[in-house]
Amino acid sequence: MLNILVCVKQVPDVNLVKIDPVTGSLIRKGVPAILNPLDANALEAAVQTKEQYGGTVTCITMGPDQAAEALRECLAAGADKAILLSDRAFANADTLATSYVITSAAKLFGSFDLIFCGKESLDGATGQMGSQLAERFDASQLSSMSLLLAVDEAGKTVTAERELEKGVETAEAKLPCLFTVEKTNYRPRIPNLKSWKASRTAEITTLNSLSIPGLDPAQIGDPGSPTKVPRTYPPVVGESGHMIDEGSTEKNVDTLFELIADVL
């Protein structure tokens, strides 16, 4: 029986985030928080693996209380258990601190054979969490995993395809193994009404910094994060280009072709 972990994140739908033109700060109000889209592919890969080999899928996330909603989405789509790590002390964490909290908490729930992650988050988009989680779980890692071919529980190995820059690699890795998942073969399933309803009332195990024994306060949240963001600023944009407005699409296109004639 495989013990499978899926690490997920709730993110603001960045496509809907607007910038306050006066203050230059982000307007998060009214922007829906969603399950990071690529994490849904990771979950699907995990659930398909469970369906084939048997086992348990646990999903884990760190975030505010409302991140429970992302976990319920995972439960509706086939996860068995959900863990929410929520504490003000976890805030402002970079990938180093986040990977520390997630692995410290996950270890309380046993040792995992397979760990699935999305390739990157929609908001931070560092793409570093997979590597750093693998390091802290002391797991092998197969990034850009597009198809899990076989799990050999007795031999403690897994075989999978990876989509690399110039082709597809077939690789074997020792368990425990962490994957970052490509969306190619793992389109998220649509939960049926019954599982969706069950997810609404399912139990979510919630832990804070005090309920994880031995957690080092110096390694979590802002103090545990070596990378800092001293400032942000709106992108510098130039003056508008030459706008073509001749009154009709036909005339606009004719003018455009005259203007770009020398580059064609």
């Binding site: 560092t126 820059e165 690699e169 690789a171 992108p235 455009l256 770009i260």
Partner: protein, 330 residues
């Protein structure tokens, strides 16, 4: 940790025994500038051997030191040996910064050795500035889907680790300098490598997916309708160019990742770049701003893309595309 104990900026030279990955040379050229600003040496870390012509190319970027590593465990790329190697080297030589090309391999092992050291790791910066007051490197990058620029620093820990996407910086070698070679042996037991390559199938070479060197690119943004795609393909073909897209188009599953232009995709520099329904988020603009001529078509007159273009048309993207097709066919 005392920051003053750390010195010199490193670039990992990724190669296959025959050629150096372009991104490694691009990084040497860029880090040469900030190493000079900081008064530090530029060190190229080469694992295994390079043909003489490639070593020559590397020295032309102005590296001061080549740190040449030999040992067991590096026969094929694996995260275990490389993460161990950089942990060992960083603890011995104490560099201020380590830069790694943002290839799949680089993005696999760099965050991992940074975590083991431990230290801070950043990814996908599009601009690097050395701050003389703090002696920190500012890693500047688009954030929140390109709606803001964020300055990221590693103010206390060393080394400062960064992965940088291919094509972000230009390959402009500034010429040879006196260069010394340090030989180093770090063995990694092959039995401890946890991954093994069983097979590799090169992608059938699909020229339409190779957009990095195209002279003309027609780029569609999130507003594109799936049914309309053939129009844009045809326009690209008639102009002798290729079709590209923005990240959300890939996220919707409409076009493959290899066609994504931007910070987390391909950086392109065509002579002519035509965008349709592209809003102009910075993380996309980062990937195309060096194009010769930028044309933007968008129905929203306030779209940010118009701030970056040479020529803009406010209008329905499909209508403009169809009119361009009619124009080209006649």
């Amino acid at each position: 940790m005392n920051k003053n104990d750390y010195r010199d900026m490193w670039v990992f030279i990724e190669h296959d025994g025959e050629t150096i990955q372009p991104v490694s040379l691009e990084l040497c050229c860029e880090i040469r500038k900030i190493a000079d600003a900081a008064g530090e040496k530029l060190v190229a870390v080469v694992v295994g051997t390079l043909p003489e012509s490639e070593t020559e190319k590397l020295m032309e970027t102005g590296v001061d030191v080549i740190l040449r590593v030999s040992g067991t465990g590096y026969g094929y790329f694996n995260v275990d040996a490389y993460a161990n190697l950089f942990t060992v080297l960083c603890r011995k030589y104490l560099p201020t910064a380590v830069f790694v090309g943002g290839t799949i391999n680089g993005r696999d092992f760099a965050p991992r050795f940074a975590c083991r050291l431990p230290t801070g790791c950043t990814s996908d910066a599009t601009e690097l500035v050395w701050d003389p007051k703090t002696t920190d490197i500012e890693f500047i990058e688009p954030a929140v889907g390109g709606k803001m620029m964020a300055v990221i620093t590693v103010p206390v820990m060393r080394p400062q680790v960064g992965t940088i996407r291919p094509g972000t910086f230009k390959y402009v070698p500034t010429g040879k300098r006196p260069c010394s070679v340090i030989e180093e042996t770090v063995d990694f037991p092959e039995a401890e490598i946890r991954t093994r390559v069983l097979d590799f199938k090169a992608d059938d070479f699909d020229e339409s997916l190779n957009i990095a060197d195209a002279d003309v690119i027609v780029c569609v943004g999130n507003a594109v309708k799936v049914d309309s795609l053939p129009k844009y393909r045809e326009l690209a073909a008639l102009l002798g160019g290729k079709l590209g897209c923005t990240r959300p188009v890939f996220d919707r599953g409409v076009l493959p990742f290899k066609l994504v232009i931007g910070q987390s995709g391909v950086v392109v520099k065509p002579k002519l770049y035509l965008s349709f329904g592209v809003s102009g988020a910075v993380n996309h603009v980062t990937g195309m701003q060096d194009s010769g001529c930028i044309v933007a078509v968008n129905k929203d007159p306030d779209a940010a893309i118009f701030k970056y273009c040479d020529y803009g048309i406010v209008g329905d993207m499909d209508e403009v595309c169809e009119q361009m097709l009619r124009h080209l066919r006649r």
